[in-house]
């Protein structure tokens, strides 16, 4: 029985800060924006967090396909910035979007890939018939310590996917995961900012896992890059997804529509899922999309997706990724620092 994406929705806060503004404050004169291929990043307002972003994205998904929320049997929210250490994000989202109490929920954490892990969990439950519809969300108000390399890219945003069996906007043909114990990036309990292994986050982290998951799925399915119209790779910066696409044999045209990081930064758990949404925003029925997420720690989930007729009907019933990207207001570092809670009063 085929299962897949019934609907999707995104949310990206409207505030932006330019990477060169951050570089100005820290006295970095080394063309950081060009080097990262990230020019600005989204910034949450002072009262926005992973929960509000998740709710906005989920509402967009519900509205896009006119879904009756009481059909939803599971809500899994993947994030590394859940506002509560103990107290689920998913319950608040469920209440806010009008799901009745007959649903299961849990918060997921797997660095930047918890959202795709949530998608896989929903896919399993839907395929087995345990639930009718499941909502998988990847959202973050990611943290980068002031002055750290992460601060140039750590952004805010998220995407919600309603997973089901009927009226599919896109079928998930197959999924494959590759996971190892690799300490490339972490945040200990009680610490405000994550730490990372510098260059170790590259080859042994991102590239090893993304390429293994991608090749694993293509081998499992007997597909190759030319079988896909589009590809989306996790986007911690604007360089890694471009490089890994080339390594795997995907073209810049294939990754173009989904490469949103240069304009909004890295939305962490939202990153690959916002990229997928941007691709669904432009894809046509019959198109195939290849997506690979990456989460530090480390692992990658690869998906092969085939777009269905229904996409044309529902696409414009909710804001597109491009609508959010174009609705922007730039902040200076001072207001950004206030919004992000970097100023301790």
């Amino acid at each position: 029985m085929s299962a897949g994406i019934v609907s999707y929705g995104v949310y990206i806060p409207k505030y932006r800060i330019r990477v060169e503004e951050i570089a100005r404050v820290w006295g970095d004169k080394n063309n950081v924006a060009q080097n990262l291929n990230v020019f600005e990043k989204s910034v949450p307002d002072a009262d926005e967090d992973t929960i509000t972003i998740s709710v906005e994205a989920a509402r967009n998904a519900i509205n896009r396909a006119g879904i009756d929320p009481t059909r939803i049997g599971a809500i899994y929210v993947g994030s590394e910035s859940h506002p509560y250490a103990v107290k689920p994000t998913g319950t608040i989202v469920g209440e806010a979007i009008g799901v009745n109490s007959e649903f299961t929920a849990a918060d997921f954490e797997f660095a930047c890939k918890a959202g795709t892990a949530a998608m896989q969990a929903c896919l399993g439950m839907v395929s087995s018939g345990m639930i009718d519809l499941g909502v998988a969300i990847g959202a973050d108000t990611s943290q980068g310590a002031p002055g750290d390399a992460l601060e140039y890219t750590a952004a805010a945003g998220g995407a919600a996917y309603v997973i089901g069996r009927d009226n599919l906007a896109a079928e998930i043909e197959s999924t494959y995961s590759f996971t190892t114990d690799t300490p490339d990036f972490w945040r200990r309990e009680g610490r405000p900012y994550p730490e990372h292994g510098g260059r170790f986050t590259g080859e042994p982290g991102y590239f090893k896992h993304v390429t293994n998951a991608a090749r694993g799925l293509m081998k499992k399915m007997g597909t190759s890059p030319k079988d896909y119209d589009y590809a989306v790779f996790h986007q911690p910066n604007g360089k890694f997804p471009v490089r890994v696409a080339a390594q795997l044999g995907f073209t810049s045209e294939q990754i173009g529509p989904g490469l949103v990081v240069p304009r909004i930064g890295n939305t962490y758990s939202g990153s690959s899922l916002v990229g997928l949404a941007a691709t669904l925003d432009v894809a046509s029925s019959g198109d195939r999309i290849f997506m690979v997420s990456f989460g530090s720690g480390a692992g990658s989930d690869a998906f092969s997706i085939r777009v269905c007729d229904e996409i044309e009907t529902i696409r414009n019933r909710a804001p597109l990724v491009e609508d959010y990207i174009n609705c922007s207001q730039h902040l200076d570092y001072a207001v950004y620092a206030k919004n992000k809670g970097k100023l301790r009063l």
Binding site: N30, F200, P204
Partner: protein
């Protein structure tokens, strides 16, 4: 004193060896060197290992016993000693090993060097390295090694008209050589323009003027020359081992563009070997920064003070030219696992003098020199080696 020869040598691939621990690197190079020398474990009389900062980089001290343990030599209770002189730890280990054999106290002795640097962040590594400078009078006021060498470079430029293009030529040459060396950290050609446009570290030094952070290990096996032929057809005789010290802090120097420790170590080495700089066919010198190579080739006596930049620009130090410098790729391109560097330099000279350096072979090389510096010249070691 007895004449001493190198009868075997080994060196790991240099680079970000993320899958290997300090122990793995020691075992890898130990096996290579022992197999190369055709010696058995029971023949080894002593071990010396250069290691700058196992405590800071991998939270492991007592590296002497550790390498004996890794080598399986604790069963024989072979004495093993760790020596430390910052980035000259490897060169110093070689010198201690040479002295042990020369004195007649030991026969077969291994000199090794190892550093595992990529387990910590770049900032932690930079701070560990800064411990080689004067912590109280330099580091507490914000100096790091790039900053100290940048000051040397600025004064060198001011006094002798050395240009940044000339500094860049050193990096271009060493990357070219390193590209031909299978153990190098970097296999990429660079251009003067690329060096000049690379990110600024400490004016005038840019990223491509600086050696990298590297994991790696190297080892050589020494024996009295009189029995060396029992083990190998191509023993490499150590004609001189010399060491000198200087002030730890740069600002206490007579002239900061000259590393007097290099000057004195070289003078002593040439006297010991009864040779002069003109007799040297090739040299591995301490190019932790591009200005380091320029200062070194002057301080050793290959070129007059102030002429090093010109020599680099004119290509005199290229393979195939008059005096090839850093055929391995140097610290710049081959990599700089600080405790291992001095031994890797000897490994390169051994390969060259044996005629086993492949594409980067210096034709007819008979006498080679190594120059290893600790800090910005608090310690310098010079060794001269010759094919028997």
């Amino acid at each position: 004193m007895r004449s001493v020869s190198i009868i075997g040598a080994g060196c790991t691939r240099f680079g970000e060896r993320w899958d290997d621990s300090l122990r793995d690197l020691v075992v890898e190079t130990g096996i290579m060197s022992i197999e190369d020398a055709n010696v058995g474990g029971e023949e080894i009389d002593a071990l010396y290992v250069g290691n700058m900062s196992g405590g800071r980089f991998v939270e492991q001290e007592h590296i002497g016993a550790l390498i004996a343990d890794c080598a399986g030599l604790t069963r024989l209770h072979v004495p093993s000693t760790r020596v430390e002189a910052a980035c000259a730890s490897g060169g110093l280990a070689l010198r201690q090993a040479v002295l042990a054999v020369a004195s007649g106290y030991s026969d077969i002795v291994i000199a090794a060097g190892v550093e595992k640097m990529t387990d910590v962040s770049g900032g932690t590594a930079a701070d560990a390295l800064a411990a080689a400078a004067d912590r109280e009078w330099e580091c507490f006021f914000g100096a790091t090694f790039p900053a100290l060498y940048a000051m040397i470079a600025r004064l060198h430029m001011h006094q002798y008209g050395t240009s940044h293009e000339q500094l860049a030529e050193v990096a271009v040459k060493n990357h070219h050589n390193g590209n031909m060396n299978p153990i190098s950290q970097y296999h990429m050609e660079i251009s003067v323009d690329k060096v000049l446009k690379s990110p600024l570290v400490a004016d005038p030094l840019r990223v491509l003027d600086c050696s990298p952070i590297t994991d790696g290990a190297a080892a050589v096996v020494l024996a009295p020359t009189e029995i060396a032929k029992k083990y190998t057809d191509t023993p490499i005789e150590v004609l001189a081992t010399a060491q000198a010290s200087d002030t730890l802090a740069l600002h206490d120097r007579r002239d900061i563009t000259t590393l007097d420790a290099s000057v004195y170590a070289a003078k002593r080495a040439f006297k010991q070997a009864k040779l002069s700089p003109e007799d040297i066919d090739l040299a591995e010198v301490h190019d932790a920064f591009t200005i380091g190579e320029i200062a070194a080739i002057e301080d050793i006596g290959f070129f007059k003070k102030g002429q090093g930049g010109k020599a680099a620009e004119e290509g005199i130090t290229h393979i195939g030219a008059k005096l090839p410098i850093n055929t391995s790729g140097g610290l710049k391109a081959c990599g700089h696992p600080v405790g291992a560097t001095g031994i890797k330099q000897a490994y390169e000279i051994v390969l060259q003098l044996r005629g086993e350096a492949g594409k980067r072979q210096v034709e007819g090389a008979k006498i080679g020199l190594t120059h290893n510096v600790g800090g910005c010249g608090g310690t310098a070691l010079v060794h001269i080696m010759s094919r028997r």
